[in-house]
Amino acid sequence: MSLQLTDVHISAGDREFVHGVSFDLPAGGVVGIVGESGSGKTLTCRAALGILPPGFTVSSGTVSLGGRDTATLSTREWTALRGSTISAVFQDPASYLNPSLTVGSQVAEVLQVKLRLRRRAARDRAVELLDSVRLPDVYRRYPHELSGGMLQRALIATAIAAGPRVLIADEATTALDVTVQSEILDLLADLRDSTGLALVVVSHDLAVVAQLCDEVLVMRDGAVVEQGPVSDVLYAPRHEYTRLLIDEHESYGLDRFLSLDGAALEGAVLEGAVRERAPLEGADHGAAR
Amino acid sequence: MVLRVLRLPTGKIAFAILLVIAALALFGPLLAFQDPLEGGAGILAGPSGAHPLGTDYLGRDVLSRLLAGSRISVLGAAQVTLVAMVVGVIPGILSVYLGSVFEWLTLRLADTLIALPFLVFAVAVTALLGNGIPQAMFTVGIMVSPLFYRVTRAATLAVARSPYVEAAIVSGATIGWVVRKHVWVKVLPPIAVALAHTAGVGFVVVSSLTFLGIGVQPPAPTWGGVLAADLGYLSFRPWAPLLPTALIMATVWACNLLADAIRDVSGEGGKALITAKGVRA
């Protein structure tokens, strides 16, 4: 197992924010986490990366990485693992790059620090990495010269520079155009296929996750309300919240104009979801907080 | 706004100090129990019953000079600030709204004023308008107005480009409406900060002009003038500059406190603008 979460609870003080998340992520596997904002997706990711915000702790359960319980790791060991075993990209790529350094030099720096490459070798490898995220000519460019999608790809290059086994993409495409989003998702899928990179893909959009994942977790208010293989969750959702997410797509997405290969999506299930919308009224917290 | 400022402790302290200063300005000249211009027996004397703060290099009573000088000093600083505000703030707001010609003109003018050697300008204007305190303070006000112009312009620009202002314009709002409803509350706090700064500059400038004989004729007492005189005789009365300095500093400090208080009670928009570059421009 590359990454394994077993009944992870996350608390700050005496308040619990995440009430038990478990999943096994094998090499080359993809786990998706869906949920509205504030449902605990980012906290879960941060727990897996060992970078919970100050005051937050994994109050019970275990996170194990490559078979090792991360609770036993020292700060130093964590630092060594981050980047070379597990890595992440987030929603706002611009804030993770230094505006005064070229993109290429920042990728190369990671290689020098993490893999102890010489400067020359690091530069050559950085050029290769940027090529692999389809950014052939940006080594000498500065972050402000790149579009949002290009920045996110540059950040992915930085994140995979030290050859991690697990990459967490937390809302990595949320701020991007749909066409650019698909480009990033396709890139992640290619990387998984070519290098066996395991992925954790987080989004508030079920469809984004569904495109890529083997297993999906649906979170709400810190709890996993539904979990299972993508096809089960999509075609036979058990929880009303999942049905609501599917229904939102059915009535407002592109799906109803395209021929569906999954007949189970239509009909009874969705009618049910429409009728059950009423109890969820008032589920309007989030974005602004 | 005023009430909310007064509710804050910083606002209270600032108001109290400014009230005392205002009282000094009003009644100070009446309280001066000795003729501030009349030289006495001993020069550069230490404190005594007759001269609580001693005498200066011409034997004049220092306390009386400070009291008598307070009105000129305070009024001078107030005038500087007022002129700077009127000449700076209004064009600052209008430069954003009145089209590119006005914008270009005011920007060049502000640059020119900043580049102009201060004293040459001051001498030229007093030569033109006559050598008096109001003329000199008017000049100084003009000289520091680019600060207000820039602060106001930066703040107005930031507000003018915001979607909520565009929403108002799309509904048919006039420039006046936009300024009254959206711009004003947001540019006020940065202006207040600049104001405190200018009031301080005003005091210092009144003194340096006095020193050079521009505007205020040397025998006329001002806080800055007393300070300048004291500084010349440090070796005889090393403690002497303390009181005029304290008066100037208390006033400047009160202005700064007031600016802080205004910032604390101002809304989101204004706060954001204070920390923005504009204020330091």
């Binding site: 509205e36 579009s147 949002g148 155009d177 749909v178 066409t179 650019v180 989003q181 698909s182 480009e183 396709d186 899928a189 290619d190 508030h204 079920l206 469809a207 569904a210 495109q211 993508v230 999509l234 599917i246 939102e248 059915e250 009535s251 407002y252 997405g253 592109l254 799906d255 109803r256 104009f257 395209l258 569906l260 999954g262 999506l265 969820l280 589920a283 309007d284 917290h285 989030g286 974005a287 602004a288 907080r289 | 915001s162 979607p163 909520y164 565009e166 929403a167 108002a168 314009i169 799309v170 509904s171 048919g172 709002a173 409803k181 509350v185 947001k186 809304g267 989101e268 928009g269 204004g270």
Partner: protein, 272 residues
């Protein structure tokens, strides 16, 4: 036609942001404008509202040719409340220092309506966007993103406009809030208001619009009924758009198709 845009060109200095865009919106119709970031969508809306000048072409809003209006004529036209605008960013589209009540009533107050009357309209509109009257005394900072966007829609509606331009009204919202706003737009459409719905995502427009226009690098490259554009896209960019929209069915098979469309578009971009 509530809106007719003909051969519209807009330049920002050297940059040619719109190159002859033509588009029309019939009474009661909802038209979607889809395009990537920088394709000129906001420029189109801003030109219609007179916020940026057109360098060529004609814009007719509800029978008034607005192309040559001067500042005063624009103001008079805007006060009639024929057309309104909802901005992309719910965080910045309401003045942070004004209560929801003042923001909501502003368009009416500008028209000279008394505060009492405007306030009672504001209350009605809040109800219409499913928000409670207790929000009236709040500041925008105390509302969630979804609530703010609904307030912004309510503000646009308070003058009962014939045409509402919506610039990416749901792009910054998460899915449950997005659905709420989309539902609201659907109600508006059904009540007969014409909408120009701008988005980078065909998916969010598909459920609401009657027709869509695809804007690519300042030109409208494709236009037609939603169903036709989605099921038979002709321009490569439209094909990529359709192929990129997140759908619930697994899209693994489309990856290669998307890659070749992207290659096609970049090579075309290099030529032009």
């Amino acid at each position: 036609m509530v809106l007719r845009v003909d051969g519209l060109e807009v330049r920002y200095g050297k940059l040619h942001a719109l190159r002859g865009a033509s588009l029309s919106v019939a009474p009661g119709e909802t038209v979607g404008v889809i395009g990537e970031t920088g394709s000129g969508k906001s420029t189109l809306a801003r030109a219609v509202l007179g916020l940026v000048p057109a360098s060529a072409g004609q814009i007719v809003v509800d029978g008034t040719d607005v192309t040559g209006l001067n500042t005063r004529q624009w103001r008079a036209f805007r006060r009639r409340g024929v057309v309104q605008y909802v901005f992309q960013d719910p965080l910045r589209s309401l003045d942070p220092d004004l209560t929801i009540a003042s923001s909501l009533t502003e368009p009416l107050r500008i028209q000279g309506v008394s505060f009492a009357e405007a306030a009672s309209r504001a209350r009605e509109l809040l109800k219409r966007v499913s928000l409670g009257p207790e929000l009236l005394d709040r500041l925008p900072g105390e509302l969630s993103g979804g609530q703010r966007q609904r307030v912004a829609v309510a503000r646009a509606l308070i003058v009962e406009p014939r045409l509402v331009l919506l610039d990416e009204p749901v792009s910054a919202l998460d899915s449950s809030n997005r659905v709420r706003v989309l539902e609201l737009l659907k109600q508006l459409r059904d009540a007969g208001t014409s909408l120009l719905f701008i988005s980078h995502d065909l998916g969010s427009v598909a459920g609401v619009a009657d027709r869509v226009a695809v804007l690519y690098r300042g030109e409208i490259v494709e236009q037609g009924p939603v169903r036709d554009v989605i099921s038979r896209p002709t321009h490569p960019y439209t094909k990529l758009l359709v192929g990129s929209a997140p759908t619930l069915r697994s899209a693994a098979a489309d990856r290669a198709a998307r890659a070749s469309l992207r290659a096609l578009l970049t090579s075309e971009g290099a030529v032009s």
